[in-house]
Symmetry: D3
Subunit: 249 residues, 6 copies
Amino acid sequence: MMDGETDMYMQYQNSFDIKEQISHSKIAILPIGAVEAHGPHLPLGTDNLLAERVSEKLAERVNGLVLPTLPYGQVWSLRNFPGSITVSNDSLIRFIVDIGKSLSKQGFTTFAMVNGHLGNGTALKEAARVLYETCPNLQVFYFFYPGMNKAAAEVRETVSAHAAYFHACEIETSYMLYLAPEHVDMDKAITDIPDIPMHADATPTPWEEFTETAVLGDAKLATKEKGKYIIDIALDNMATMVKNATAEI
Amino acid sequence: MMDGETDMYMQYQNSFDIKEQISHSKIAILPIGAVEAHGPHLPLGTDNLLAERVSEKLAERVNGLVLPTLPYGQVWSLRNFPGSITVSNDSLIRFIVDIGKSLSKQGFTTFAMVNGHLGNGTALKEAARVLYETCPNLQVFYFFYPGMNKAAAEVRETVSAHAAYFHACEIETSYMLYLAPEHVDMDKAITDIPDIPMHADATPTPWEEFTETAVLGDAKLATKEKGKYIIDIALDNMATMVKNATAEI
Amino acid sequence: MMDGETDMYMQYQNSFDIKEQISHSKIAILPIGAVEAHGPHLPLGTDNLLAERVSEKLAERVNGLVLPTLPYGQVWSLRNFPGSITVSNDSLIRFIVDIGKSLSKQGFTTFAMVNGHLGNGTALKEAARVLYETCPNLQVFYFFYPGMNKAAAEVRETVSAHAAYFHACEIETSYMLYLAPEHVDMDKAITDIPDIPMHADATPTPWEEFTETAVLGDAKLATKEKGKYIIDIALDNMATMVKNATAEI
Amino acid sequence: MMDGETDMYMQYQNSFDIKEQISHSKIAILPIGAVEAHGPHLPLGTDNLLAERVSEKLAERVNGLVLPTLPYGQVWSLRNFPGSITVSNDSLIRFIVDIGKSLSKQGFTTFAMVNGHLGNGTALKEAARVLYETCPNLQVFYFFYPGMNKAAAEVRETVSAHAAYFHACEIETSYMLYLAPEHVDMDKAITDIPDIPMHADATPTPWEEFTETAVLGDAKLATKEKGKYIIDIALDNMATMVKNATAEI
Amino acid sequence: MMDGETDMYMQYQNSFDIKEQISHSKIAILPIGAVEAHGPHLPLGTDNLLAERVSEKLAERVNGLVLPTLPYGQVWSLRNFPGSITVSNDSLIRFIVDIGKSLSKQGFTTFAMVNGHLGNGTALKEAARVLYETCPNLQVFYFFYPGMNKAAAEVRETVSAHAAYFHACEIETSYMLYLAPEHVDMDKAITDIPDIPMHADATPTPWEEFTETAVLGDAKLATKEKGKYIIDIALDNMATMVKNATAEI
Amino acid sequence: MMDGETDMYMQYQNSFDIKEQISHSKIAILPIGAVEAHGPHLPLGTDNLLAERVSEKLAERVNGLVLPTLPYGQVWSLRNFPGSITVSNDSLIRFIVDIGKSLSKQGFTTFAMVNGHLGNGTALKEAARVLYETCPNLQVFYFFYPGMNKAAAEVRETVSAHAAYFHACEIETSYMLYLAPEHVDMDKAITDIPDIPMHADATPTPWEEFTETAVLGDAKLATKEKGKYIIDIALDNMATMVKNATAEI
């Protein structure tokens, strides 16, 4: 284990050193993902792996501390697929608010959640608003690849299956090829572009209604380069926002 | 990465394989720890590391699947020490109940929580009781080194600072030397046996009232052998209970 | 009062007639809006008026019953603007779930929420998911102008200030000119296109940070025709979805 | 639309004007009713209509602003009658507390709830007590026709079916004939005086146990004059209390 | 201790005998009161004593079992008087619902709450409604001296200070002289008839606003005979209702 | 009734006297027990009786006021035994927190809960922690026979059936013989030492799984002397802790 790697991870440091370190860097980064079906070529923990690796890269850029990954999220849409585990928005909100309050008491002034799972978005935003009221000295971010929509549009070869969702597809698989290639099995990658009905945005619609694989696109077109292109833009955006927030304080 | 290691971890498998695997092994193992001060020689994530490594060993014995670690716990007593993060009992209970319900729906019949942090005990027990009512087909365990009191008494060279608590001391440091030695810095190990007041069991008492280091004992006396002796007994006990439960079903 | 108008509104009918009517039409339509600042040219109740008028038109198309408008919503972003009133997501969810349960007990099989306020989206979706579990015979919709993004792009003369938000602008003012022109004062319409910072999507950002008027665009460009074009498409979409749902049952 | 009418209604004003107006009048009036069976001659929205019309008259007397009607209430006793919709006390309390907090932040100092449905009484009183603690600068009223018992006794020709309840009877129908005659169908008015069992005050007793019509009395005896007599006394009482409260501040 | 006395009290029996006894009598009686200021001549526990003694007499009449007294209640109005203790409606509801569920599981079919404190009324009614849904085989009563208004009017020599409240006055002191005379100090009884403002029924009004003693009437006029007259009527009513309920099952 | 006895009990005093008394003694003592099966020789209310009698003795030593007994507790393990009544941890926590807040407002600075039922321990500890945050001027104790483990070991003639539990056995029956002998029927005392399985500490285990009597030991060996020995030590410990806390303030 390299020293540099270790220093970044909060849980591998001891209580005496961390005190000193917080006095220098008041930025805590929390990777949040989920255990969720991601097709035949990506593991259940895809969102955790992505959140974790992005967090590490963000920590390098802003000199932040990476907290241990919260590996469970809100997985309503895919909860009936094999291996998926879901927690409710309410449970997730409370859990994150508690973590945020602790960070604030410990002296952190920035709490950046790096989210790898779209379904967590509602809970993270709500938790951030609760902390906005209760911990006014803590700037809370809920990042989900900021700027990715524009960047993905520039590199993707297939159109997106849905305006908001992307899942185990050309894009997400590219992220994995860049960030966690050892967990991708491209031999099993498939093309499965579902016809998502309009009512999926207007009534509760479990995804088994329109996909058997949980893949929303053409995973075969994924490349490490596409992933790097989008992720680096997202990282630039995150780093800029965190630095601006820190500068303001 | 060895195949064997990978197979054990639920989040590294894909949704198609896990379906097959659950049909063979219905035992899910959840490591739960905390981010908490553990003196100068042990990292903040000590309880997470221990829970994780014990879970792996238990999974080998009972052919179980290891879920990703839940790395945040209830850390009331040490919450004011540098680096500690705490979540409330209520938040923890809800979170675990949600996970348990998902596991039950996925077909698991045993949900074994391997707890590395005493402070989580109240929440895990309560969550197990909620699941006892709501998921009658799921057997829920909340393990905290079963049988360790007797086993530790046999090997320890100093008396325990408290009837229930042990922390960053001869015993816990021995666990780490056995299970995660790469995260122990024995050069920094200290002897700090506090005089815990009687009222600590009868009124809310933050630990800063009686210790400055969060060490409750003589960490210098820790050895890998002591750790192995106790942990193996605890593993025997856990494996026996899980197997008995599985046999009954 | 015209008979036709009266028959559509649930609260203007008596208990004896409604029993008969529910036996024929099992579609309940709930307008939901908010009291919220909408610039100098639109009233605080804009979202209520829009939800109400759209609901009436939808009722005509699907032979539904219009419930009395729920005129309070989640107005976090604009809560500090004069006249805004906000209720929490949690309160809104509970309230709507209760209404939905009553409708299900009364024999309705479709509960269509016509939402006029984007900020309500999170709560309505969550409420619909709760009802999905608790009232399996009730199909719940949370409509927010379905299809409007594409339709608006076709008619708008200015680019949108934000990918998701539109507010008191060319589009929403057009809706009002079509549906409630008596409440629009075009003499006071302004052009105020704010520069919404990127972090508005990643950290709690009250709108007073980037706008003084609560107008996000060029309200002067609004026309009744633009409004009609988009609203009619949205109505087509809503009617189609409701009819499909009804046909399935 | 008359100017005077418009000015009174908060939701028909814009954000710029309301700021000025609140600086002059800090009295917000919230009509609260219910959707509930009211016999063959009165509409389901009777309590909403009454609350609304009384609120308008009160606003004239005290120069207050009328908020949009909250048209859903706690309808436990009649929830099984056709057309009734009920929300729980708990949901209602939270909703009203949120509204009250917003009003307080907006600068209002009096929050007068004009209640048209007896079943809401418990929730409104509790909400007022919560606001008493959390918003000490806000005087909260929960009015339910103050003084009506004495006034009704003076004009009624039949005895009351119950010490506390009156429903769709001589009295409430008289209110409607005074305040919303266009929604009364006196041709369908009936005489139906139930024998309410003593246990109705001591154990949960849905009203279908003792009435088929939801009428508790002789609706045929209703007159506009009786309604006016009682309502005007109630309005005097409300206006006096609001003015006294305002004077104190 | 007389045998008869002991048999009535559930908590003085053992687990083996109670099983037999429940098979004969399925009526559980719960006295509920409060710790609350009751003037200079009555103790803080007046409502507990009254609830307890009435419960005993009711148990004799209907062959019921008396549960141990729940001696804490909702005391909002008098909470600022010396010695008062209050619990919230919410806490009280949950507590009673839990007790009711246990009684239902134990085989009881009637759960009669004998309430000695008016302020508990809201919570007891709500708890009864919750149990109505969750324990359909349990008939729940919330008794507060049924029929006392009429009976008290027949014997009282002073008019009531308020339509609903009576407190430490001619009436309640009479109850105590009949049921718990050893706790009354008539030498300290006073006449203190407050002028209760009309707004006390329409806005949160702590009683210190209109009384310094917490006495609402002329305690000097209390007699044992008045108390006996009213209490016996209330007991007749309670016994009748309980017997009717039992007969129906 | 002796004067001394009366003065100690808060609920037998009036509001005027209590004000004076609180100014002298700011120590409130709350007995908490349960209604729970205790074998054939002890009553269901054993834990209430013990808590009450210990509280009286403690009050004498520290000049405290005894509140009325809260006679319901968390009885999960024995809830299926005849006569047991259980309330949830959550309900119990809220109830006690409310009482504590009232005591703090009334001027008390010490709130000593004397617990007679082990199952209440979790809730009392949690409630104390909530009060620690919300009422910083109130010192809260949750006493469960402090020091009894060591003391019991010195006098017991049989080994304990379990490291933490003792129930209706040699020890608890001894307590009763000392404190409430009139409620013990030694003729029915039995010897019933169950074999408690190891999993009882690691998975929800209702006690009917290992005992039919709810007795965990040899009740025949109980003596008043053993009870007095242990109880007096526990009282010494409680009194010392309360006095120390009072001295610090």
